[in-house]
């Protein structure tokens, strides 16, 4: 669609600037030859070099990516189902059950899950972190999918059913593509929430199952070091590559 709405593009551009302003600082300071991180001193790669020798930090980054990929995946499936359920049926329980986790303060959720896991005698580790992350991500996906559904023309899928398509076939060929942007938005939010969570993860993490936010929190006591900026930059680039690769391999998989 061609549009010449300059005002809209300018406004969006301004918001993009707002989004990227701090990011520029993160990247620039990861290349700055000053531990204090206060002003520009000189260019260096040494923080990246140090980073590749920091075993704990790299393991944590790997854990974080793994946890985020798995929990975002599971939460997207469950959240999409919940979003559809919320739309199709006026089940009073479901909206409450989906909304309350979003509203629950992180710290209470962390403590309650920790108590729950210990009651079940479950050992804490990557699995408990993933289970917790799925819990707080479902709601975000569901709300996004639900918002996409309202207003979608139901006659399409009805027509398909009238023509004899099986429910599954109809879902796959019609409902899913229609919902795709909502699902994609939900999945991106879930991934972001999971990769960035500190509070809940702190409580449900077991010994030695540190994630990147936990590791970074432990490092920033003495302000953010350039090394932390470097790992943040790296994580961002790595995630971008993973996602672009996935998108390249499935052109149109998540598109209407």
């Amino acid at each position: 669609m061609k549009h010449k709405n300059l005002a809209l593009i300018l406004a969006a551009g301004a918001v993009f600037t707002f989004l990227y302003l701090p990011l520029v600082i993160v990247v620039v300071y990861s290349l700055n030859d000053s531990k204090l991180n206060a002003e520009w001193v000189g260019f260096t790669w040494k923080w990246y070099d140090q980073l590749f020798h920091n075993r704990a930090l790299l393991t944590a980054a790997r854990n974080s990516l793994m946890i985020a990929a798995i929990s975002a995946g599971a939460a997207t499936v469950l959240g999409t189902l919940a979003g559809m359920g919320m739309y199709h049926y006026r089940l009073k329980v479901l909206p409450a059950l989906v909304l309350t986790p979003i509203a629950m303060p992180d710290i209470l959720m962390g403590v309650s899950l920790l108590l729950f896991f210990i009651m079940l005698n479950m050992s804490l580790g990557l699995i408990s972190i993933v289970l917790a992350h799925i819990t707080f991500c479902i709601g975000f996906v569901a709300v996004s999918v639900r918002a996409r559904m309202s207003g979608i023309d139901p006659s399409l899928s009805e027509a398909a059913r009238d023509l004899g398509a099986s429910p599954w076939h109809c879902f796959q060929k019609i409902t899913l593509p229609l919902l795709a942007p909502g699902i994609l938005a939900g999945a991106l939010m879930a991934f972001t929430l999971s990769i960035d969570d500190f509070v809940i993860t702190f409580f449900v993490a077991g010994v030695g199952s540190s994630t990147l936010p936990l590791q970074i929190y432990s490092m920033v006591k003495i302000a953010v070091t350039p090394e932390v900026n470097a790992i943040s930059t790296l994580l961002m680039v790595l995630t971008l590559i993973l996602i672009t690769l996935t998108a390249r391999l499935f052109p149109g998989a998540l598109r209407s």
């Binding site: 549009h3 469950l78 739309y87 403590v111």
Partner: protein, 304 residues
């Protein structure tokens, strides 16, 4: 209720009801049960050194039930917590409004750009949020710092018009800016998902009828996008209420919000029962606000 066949349970559509079972089951186990444990905890006594005191039995072996309402009473004893709730709700409302204001043009621009660019633009919106939360906040602290370029530039400008220099660091402005920044993608993404499906033919038709750009926006795009705005508002308003790290780091001496006090109960003063009370009250308030506004939306016919 509006007649809408898709929402009625046809006999052949019964399987759809089953779809809601997996997420419901998951949330019942991993959310409802743990939450009930904490709800129960809000009626227990705090342990002498932290944690929870046993809710039955005594040290001498005699049997008694140790439950109390005093944690809930504490909530209403003073207006301290009520004031904090109101303050937090004001902050959250302001942040939500600003997110709509900033997020709408961005989402609209993405939804109206050529199809092949949309996913990329969407990715660009979320990309900054894959760096670490704390790292981003510290970047903002650099921007706000008195020696930072932004503050210096602003103060030079203020000086030319004869105003006193200001400091952004440790101010409520800094808190609001960061609250908006951190939650902006949660407005943009659902909004985009909604705007993306709008039928361009509608706008073209309106144009043919002579409606100008503003009329077309207010009469067509905006009302159609309300479910998206509403979803975004939920995903911004509620999480902002639960934020404590931003007021902690940027808020100065009186920047705290209700979530800071909740955090204090669980960590600093190790008063889990009162922490549960505050959390439950906050959650109930947030869900109530959301469900009430949903109800109002339904009545007005804009939302279903």
């Amino acid at each position: 209720m509006k007649p809408n066949t898709a929402r009625n349970v046809g006999s052949g559509d019964r399987w759809k009801r089953l779809l809601a079972l997996p997420p419901m089951g998951y949330l019942l186990i991993f959310f409802a049960i743990p939450t009930l444990i904490m709800l129960f905890a809000s009626f227990r006594y705090a342990g002498e050194y932290g944690g929870l005191a046993p809710w039955y039995g005594n040290e001498d072996g005699s049997l008694s039930i140790n439950l109390t309402l005093e944690n809930w009473q504490r909530l209403f004893e003073t207006d301290l917590y009520l004031r904090l709730f109101l303050k937090s709700i004001m902050y959250a409302l302001l942040a939500t409004l600003l997110c709509i204001l900033l997020g709408y043009p961005l989402a609209l621009m993405i939804a109206r750009s050529p199809k092949k660019h949309r996913d990329l633009l969407l990715l660009l919106v979320i990309l900054p949020f894959w760096s670490n939360f704390l790292v981003r906040i510290y970047a903002w602290m650099i921007i706000f710092s008195p020696s930072g370029a932004l503050t210096r530039m602003m103060n030079v400008l203020l000086a030319t018009v004869g105003l006193a220099p200001v400091s952004l660091m440790y101010s409520s402005t800094a808190v609001i800016v960061c609250l908006v920044y951190v939650h902006l993608p949660f407005m943009v993404l659902p909004l985009y998902a909604n705007l993306e499906k709008h039928n361009p033919a509608l706008l073209a038709a309106a144009q043919d009828l002579g409606a100008n750009r503003w009329r077309r926006f207010w009469d067509i795009t905006w009302p159609l996008s309300l479910p998206g705005v509403y979803a975004g508002a939920i995903l911004v308003f509620i999480p902002v209420l639960g934020t404590f790290a931003i007021p902690d780091l940027l808020g100065g001496t009186d920047g705290i919000m209700i979530a800071n006090v909740i955090k204090q109960q669980f960590v600093e003063s190790r008063d889990w029962p009162f922490g549960s009370v505050l959390s439950m009250a906050l959650t109930a308030a947030a869900v109530l606000v959301v469900l009430l506004s949903a109800k109002m939306g339904t009545r007005r016919g804009t939302l279903r």
